[in-house]
């Protein structure tokens, strides 16, 4: 496929690797933010092909992984109601809540439907006027415009039995938190290309200025990621800290203006809890009051009980790039994609699941 195959070209990848080896005179620790990028790195073994001194650590950019336990429990409670159809992206079904996951509720007869696009959720509401349809709206800035558009369209069409359970997160506050942490090891970031396609470069320019750290907006194919690594290594070796855009075939400096406009119309920024990390100020979206009629948390009475994570799971440290999945004693033993203790083992974009899928046989035990 055009714009995919050429970015998986083996020869170009090897040329980039050689160039990184030539330029890297010092060890550097780089973090890719997005779970999709983590998946590509593990799938193609890019971390093992890079020179030894270049370490890739994996960031918190998996929305499925950082959706807090309380939100999963709310979705489970809604899906258990006979009057509700819960509509979700497929990845959320196996994420363990404190007592059950959505798949377990579905097995017990809960009406849970998996969709590819949020507009399908509005259609389900239109064709089931006697039921309440709740869409579990998760994601980063990339997914916020489609989810916002679904709410906006529901209002336009007068679909009153549609609401959304919103657990949206935004990337820059999480980067700021990581950089402010004592003991931070990250010296350069690969910023998430599709988040920046929507939001543009502005917030990342600010981070570069604030922390004097190089950031390269990167794509998702192996050649994209190797080129982004090379650009970071060149900056670090030259003593520069700039924002550069490797993924310029999709990312404009101003982002996608109509998509940003619909986010602003439907959502407002709020504090948000990230699973494994805790509350990060101003790191999420919630519905604006003009759209309160579509807010599932207002429409249905729900408990707001605090819940405990598995004591054994080290996902907090994994999501912050401070530990690698195989550092966890439960990894691939008591914690597998079939029986996950924590969310990074559930989503295929979670760092633990990526290591499980591509590396578990290579690990010493």
């Amino acid at each position: 496929m055009k714009y995919i195959d050429e970015y998986r070209d083996r020869e170009i990848a090897h040329k980039l690797l050689a160039k990184v080896a030539q330029r890297a005179q010092h060890p550097w620790v780089l973090m890719e933010i997005c779970g999709g990028q983590t998946h590509t790195i593990m799938r193609y073994g890019l971390d093992e092909l890079l020179p030894r001194g270049i370490e890739l650590v994996h960031g918190p950019g998996c929305p499925v992984c950082v959706t807090p336990l309380e939100m999963i429990d709310k979705a489970v409670a809604l899906a258990s109601r006979p009057d509700v159809i819960l509509v979700s992206y497929g990845d959320m079904l196996r994420v363990p809540g404190s007592k059950s996951d959505l798949l377990g509720i579905k097995a017990q007869g809960g009406d849970i439907r998996v969709v590819y696009s949020p507009v399908e959720a509005v259609k389900i509401a239109q064709t089931n006027p006697q039921r309440q349809v709740v869409f579990f709206a998760i994601g980063f800035e990339t997914t916020a415009p489609p989810n916002a558009m679904a709410v906006w369209q529901a209002r336009q069409l007068g679909v009153k039995n549609f609401s959304v359970l919103v657990s949206h997160v935004i990337v820059p506050p999480a980067i700021r938190l990581l950089l402010n942490q004592p003991g931070n090891r990250v010296q350069g970031f690969i910023a998430p290309g599709h988040v920046c396609t929507v939001m543009g470069a502005g917030e990342y320019k600010e981070l570069v200025r604030e922390f004097c750290i190089p950031i390269v907006i990167g794509g998702f194919e192996p050649v994209d990621l190797l080129q982004a690594v090379l650009m970071l290594v060149e900056q670090l070796e030259d003593g520069r800290a700039e924002l550069e855009n490797q993924y310029s075939r999709s990312v404009l400096v101003e982002g996608n203006v109509p998509a940003r406009r619909i986010i602003d119309e439907v959502f407002e920024v709020c504090d948000r809890k990230w699973r494994g990390i805790g509350v990060i100020p101003q790191s999420g979206y919630r519905l604006r009051s003009a759209f309160a009629a579509f807010d599932a948390e207002r429409k249905f009475e729900m408990e707001n009980a605090g819940v405990e994570e598995s004591a054994e799971c080290i996902s907090a440290l994994v999501l912050q790039g401070r530990k690698k999945p195989p550092d966890c004693p439960a990894f691939a033993v008591r914690c597998t994609p079939q029986t996950p203790l924590g969310a990074p083992m559930v989503s295929s974009e979670g760092a633990c699941a990526a290591y499980y899928q591509y590396r578990r046989h290579a690990l010493p035990h």
Binding site: E6, A21, L50, C62, E120, I138
Partner: protein, 85 residues
Amino acid sequence: MCLAIPGKILEIDECNAVRVGKVQFGGITRQVQLGFVPEAGIGDYVMVHVGFAISVVDAEDAQHTYEILESMGLLEAELPPAEPS
């Protein structure tokens, strides 16, 4: 979750005042919402995420970048070999 796939716009329609298109991904075609890419026309490639086009692929930019990547080979003789995996 934030994955987006490039596809080629084959047709554009207005459906209840919403701009939608038929977009081809390799061998399959899907209906895609084009509301966020008003500048996109038939034949353009768009990046599609959860059924919405979020950008028009800049063909000129992609071509230019690719040529730079390919031309790296000209320097190859001067470079050390890639580290064995």
